[in-house]
Symmetry: C2
Subunit: 180 residues, 2 copies
């Protein structure tokens, strides 16, 4: 009888609280149960963190790099100095346009080349998925196919360029004045 009552109570509670799903299912709208990462559509409406500009076309990171994250992640970072779980950093890289302006010779952003995405995960949620590790999920999309993550192994495809930023959780925060 006690078991039946407990069951009835559990059913009632799960009916009253239909959103009471396990926390992992709600980790991120842009990460599925296997850890696959989707490029968020509306990231340009998020908060802009900063810009890096690499004008040399032959450089490995040529382009105007604009970086965006969710408003709540900025709030949390400013309080704690850490990116909260679920933080998405989107780095949009565009061709460099340039020319003489009234300001002086200027560079600005042209067509999109690629998007880099990092998703914060401090709990190691996807130990078997090689795009996750060192506290983040890692992804790369080319403008031609924004649905296909070209990174398949973050250690080989992503980490190399981030090693100088290891002490700031792999993120080049010196270029992100909005976090200060």
């Amino acid at each position: 009888m006690k078991n039946i009552l407990a069951l009835a109570l559990a059913v009632a509670v799960s009916t009253l609280l239909p959103n009471f799903a396990p926390a992992e299912e709600k980790f991120s709208p842009w990460v599925d149960a296997q850890g696959a990462i989707t490029l968020p559509k509306d990231f340009r409406r998020w908060v802009h963190l900063g810009t890096f500009v690499v004008t040399d076309e032959k450089a490995p990171g040529y382009g105007v790099h604009d970086v965006y994250t969710q408003p709540r992640s900025v709030e949390a970072y400013k309080k704690t100095g850490k990116f909260p779980d679920g933080t998405v950093l989107v780095k949009e890289i565009r061709k460099v346009k340039s020319g003489a302006m009234t300001t002086g010779f200027a560079n600005w952003a042209g067509e999109v080349l690629v998007w880099f995405v990092m998703v914060k995960d401090s709990r190691g949620r996807f130990p078997k998925n090689p795009i996750w590790g060192d506290g983040w999920g890692w992804a790369l999309y080319k403008a031609e196919d924004p649905k296909k993550n070209l990174a398949t192994d973050y250690k080989r495809d992503c980490l190399g360029c981030h090693i100088p930023a290891k002490d700031t959780d792999w993120v080049y925060v010196q270029g992100y004045p909005t976090l200060k």
Copy 2:
């Protein structure tokens, strides 16, 4: 008697609709009744429109220029191709920092130098105020004193640099991919 009834009705309506103030009072939270313009505090939480980078320290517009506006203005511009009344454009100009990165030689933003602000006004609300005209209010604040608008005559202080952008309502929209 008719007059008394009309008066009573007017009082009743004004009591029932306490927010029924003249439209001009609500034009913008950052513009007072005389047309004085205030630098918005939270513009970096608005939508980032784009970035211009002028690396030459001797150029008149040296710095990393990041431009922000309200989310509703982006929505309206994408629909109509025009900035709606009350649109605020904030151009934050920071020192250029630079150095070798894993991406290649890069430039990014340092300390704030100045903020330029434009407020859209298609109705010529402040004909006697010389910081208003050509469809906008114009302002300039230095980092040392963000409360003091240093522009006193937009034709002398501001318009010169914007002449090449006259056909796009004085705004360099080619550098603002978020509007496309």
